[in-house]
């Protein structure tokens, strides 16, 4: 079964009691949730890295939102781990390369490695900001059905072409994923170790072919969809439906959240 981003917003999960139907966050308008996430990310990103207490409060704040949403905390934390490879890729060498006050130095025979405080602060800066932003986005995607998020974005005047790309990407990502699973199954059923020592190495060429084939398949699928859109009168115009409504609770939630974030940013030292 494919694991959709907005899995928790579907009925079977709700009925299984995994999430609370009455959660305030679920009932919020998707635009409000999107704006909340955007503001939260802005506040986090524009906070200097040395204000450790502020980051602690931001973390507590987003944790309260996560608890209120009723999504299992373990699920949110697990999902947030996906950012770690990216953070490591960007920041792992900074503590070793940045000049400044030396925090420690290590000798590996020919090489001498030093870690600086300035480098560590930059690494911390990347890590904590990426982590907190990821938490906000996970809560947004887990509590909002993707189509209502897209509808919200349309209402926020995000250019239609971006929304269309997002919509098609989300729609077809899972179809391509299913294709990958099927192709991989077919590959496994006909893959044998034979005389070779490593099945992975012997299959490297096969993986290359699979990737190329997926590229062609997705290209063909794109062509078909465009044909289907043209046949139903698509000319590139922005014609959409209008079904979202903001109520008093939505405004109250956004205002209170903004007040909290401003307090953390300006008052807490």
């Amino acid at each position: 079964m494919t694991n959709y981003l907005d899995n928790f917003t579907y009925l079977p999960n709700k009925q299984a009691g995994k999430v609370s139907l009455n959660s305030i966050i679920y009932r919020l308008d998707s635009r409000i949730k999107f704006l909340f996430s955007l503001f939260f990310i802005f506040f986090v990103v524009f906070t200097p890295p040395s204000y450790f207490i502020k980051f602690l409060f931001y973390f507590i704040f987003i944790l309260i939102i996560a608890i209120t949403s009723g999504i299992p905390l373990l699920y949110i934390l697990k999902r947030s781990l996906v950012i770690i490879p990216f953070v490591l890729l960007i920041g792992i060498f900074i503590p070793f390369l940045k000049n400044g006050e030396i925090a420690g130095s290590y000798n590996f025979r020919l090489f001498k490695v030093t870690v600086t405080y300035e480098g560590l602060v930059i690494f911390w800066n990347i890590f904590i900001k990426a982590f907190l932003s990821a938490l906000a986005l996970i809560i947004l995607s887990a509590t909002t059905q993707f189509n209502s998020l897209l509808e919200g974005l349309k209402k926020l005047r995000i250019p239609f072409i971006f929304i269309m790309i997002l919509s098609l990407m989300y729609r077809y990502l899972f179809i391509i994923q299913e294709k990958v699973i099927l192709i991989d199954r077919a590959r496994k059923l006909r893959s044998f170790k034979g005389k070779k020592k490593s099945i992975f190495l012997s299959q490297a060429r096969v993986f290359g072919n699979i990737i190329a084939m997926l590229f062609i398949k997705s290209y063909n699928q794109g062509e078909q969809i465009y044909t289907s859109m043209c046949l139903r009168g698509f000319t590139g115009d922005t014609k959409t439906l209008d079904r979202l409504k903001i109520n008093g609770y939505d405004i109250l939630f956004l205002s209170l959240s903004l007040v909290c974030m401003v307090i953390i940013r300006l008052i807490i030292k």
Binding site: Y10, Q145, F146, N147, L150, S167, L168, Y170, R171, Y172, F174, I175, Q221, Q224, I225, T227, S228, M229, C230, L231, R232, G233, F234, T235, D237, K239, T240, L241, D242
Partner: protein, 230 residues
């Protein structure tokens, strides 16, 4: 009135293969034409040419209007093409939005769009599916939704490419019943000979891009295959 007229229609693939070659036929209004033939006979290519998707040679008239580059958009309003694979046809997040895509593009008012979608979903037996996510539907439901996306535009001519392929016998019977209830001109390309016998007034046998025979004698359909050694 003639719904479709094709005169000497051909299409050459970029690799030099002639997918359809000198196709000549006429479909009367409210007639159901079945197109049969082996894989690669040119059935889908013919449909694409009728919709003006591929640049064909020859002449195609839809409802007495010649299909040209300049009027292809307006002519497509009269045509409803249901693809073989519903995943190629359903691209919006929810069933409602997908079925509403055509009517919205036709410039209908919000109320008219709503009533068109409601009616189309009712016709295909999917009332109440409006907020369902398209990629969570079963294959049979996707097929019916794909039909609804076209019916919501009330086309005069319905083109169905392999409508019953990959459906279980129950879903297949239900889908055939649905098609039989749809009014208007229909062209059905299929390998399902029994369905063609049940639904069609005339049959066209295609092979290697050429018409081998067009006959009104639908009962002897299997003999047609034998006659041409297919």
């Amino acid at each position: 009135m003639k719904a479709i007229e094709c005169h000497n229609v051909s299409y050459l693939y970029p690799n030099g293969l002639k997918a359809i070659n000198g196709i000549d036929f006429v479909v009367e209004e409210n007639e159901t034409l079945g197109i049969i033939g082996p894989n690669g006979a040119g059935k889908t290519t013919l449909f694409l040419a009728l919709c003006g998707i591929i640049p064909f040679e020859g002449e195609i008239k839809i409802c007495n209007t010649e299909l040209t580059k300049s009027n292809v958009q307006s002519i497509r309003k009269d045509l409803g093409f249901v693809f073989q694979n519903p995943d190629d046809q359903l691209f919006m997040p929810t069933v409602y939005e997908d079925v509403a895509f055509g009517p919205i593009n036709l410039g209908f008012s919000k109320e008219k769009v709503y009533s068109c979608v409601k009616k189309a979903l009712l016709d295909v037996g999917l009332s109440g599916f409006e907020d369902r996510i398209t990629h969570h539907l079963s294959f049979g439901e996707k097929k019916r939704t794909a039909l609804a996306t076209v019916l919501s535009m009330s086309p005069k001519i319905l083109l169905l490419d392999e409508p019953t392929s990959e459906l279980d016998p129950w879903a297949k019977n239900r889908f055939i019943e649905l098609i039989s209830k749809v009014e208007g001109t229909k062209i059905i390309a299929s390998h399902d000979l029994q369905m063609i016998i049940d639904l069609c007034d005339r049959i066209m046998l295609l092979n290697k891009g050429r018409i081998l025979e067009i006959t009104g004698n639908t009962k002897d359909i299997k003999e047609l295959y034998n006659k041409f050694n297919l």
